[in-house]
Symmetry: C2
């Protein structure tokens, strides 16, 4: 297998996983700190999806760290297949969660103009930050998933 950026068991791979963890954690933190987020199914789904992403990326970051410490090569076909499936599922769920939440925020901020209405008391800023971090998380996990698929296909 090739010496690609972001491959499992490399420093770049570990940094990518840590980036995913941090962004997913920031997204959950912003959303949880917003009042009445639990009234919206999409925002709850965003937290669930980012939580899953956090666990998956944290697990793989630990695996990368372990592989770097004992200088073990993680690039065998079975492991990479597992990473491909996991990355692809979490990437799709992350994008879906970010977009469904973004759909609601665009509806409130643009179509209905609820965000500028002081009577509504909507913490639109926090929703927006949370969704922005979810999109960054998705961007990082999309890089990982493409690198994994490429490694598996070119093995």
């Amino acid at each position: 297998m090739k010496m690609m950026f972001g491959r499992p068991g490399s420093k770049s791979g570990m940094l990518l996983r840590i980036g995913q963890c941090l962004c997913a954690a920031a997204s959950v933190a912003f959303m949880v700190s917003a009042e009445r987020f639990s009234d919206y199914t999409a925002f709850c789904y965003l937290i669930a999806s980012m939580g899953l992403q956090l666990l998956w990326s944290f697990g793989l970051a630990c695996l990368d760290l372990y592989a770097l410490k004992i200088k073990k090569d993680l690039q065998n076909a079975v492991l990479v297949s597992l990473f491909v499936v996991g990355d692809w599922v979490t990437a799709t769920l992350s994008l879906a969660a970010a977009c469904s939440s973004a759909g609601i925020v665009v509806l409130y901020a643009r179509d209905l103009d609820f965000c500028n209405n002081p009577k509504m008391h909507l913490p639109c800023g926090r929703f927006e930050y949370s969704i922005a971090m979810a999109f960054v998380t998705w961007f990082f996990i999309a890089i990982s998933s493409h690198v994994m698929l490429w490694l598996l296909a070119s093995a």
Copy 2:
């Protein structure tokens, strides 16, 4: 390059492209037939995204048909790279459009219960059919994009 299901210039590839065209067209048709869809940014974006998908898939279906007629092999690295980028961009836009619209419909149908409220006059059924067809379109384009990336990586 391998003789894979859905590869460019094959019957299975052409059928996949035709499937994408038909589902994207159905999604646009259901959404356009719903009253007041243009009040919602997400629904307009769904139509734009499905329109782009329709054009892209129709173009590639014609190319597949032409390649089958003159028995030309379309699997060279430059063409497949182009298909990978195009498929990936349209797949991401399709999923984003489907999810952002789904976020609004879930908000209206579940969180706010507007769909069962006769005063709101919301054509929720048509919105739901349109979004379902957008998800099917995304599923087909996701298969195409993975096949293309696999072909490119294993070349």
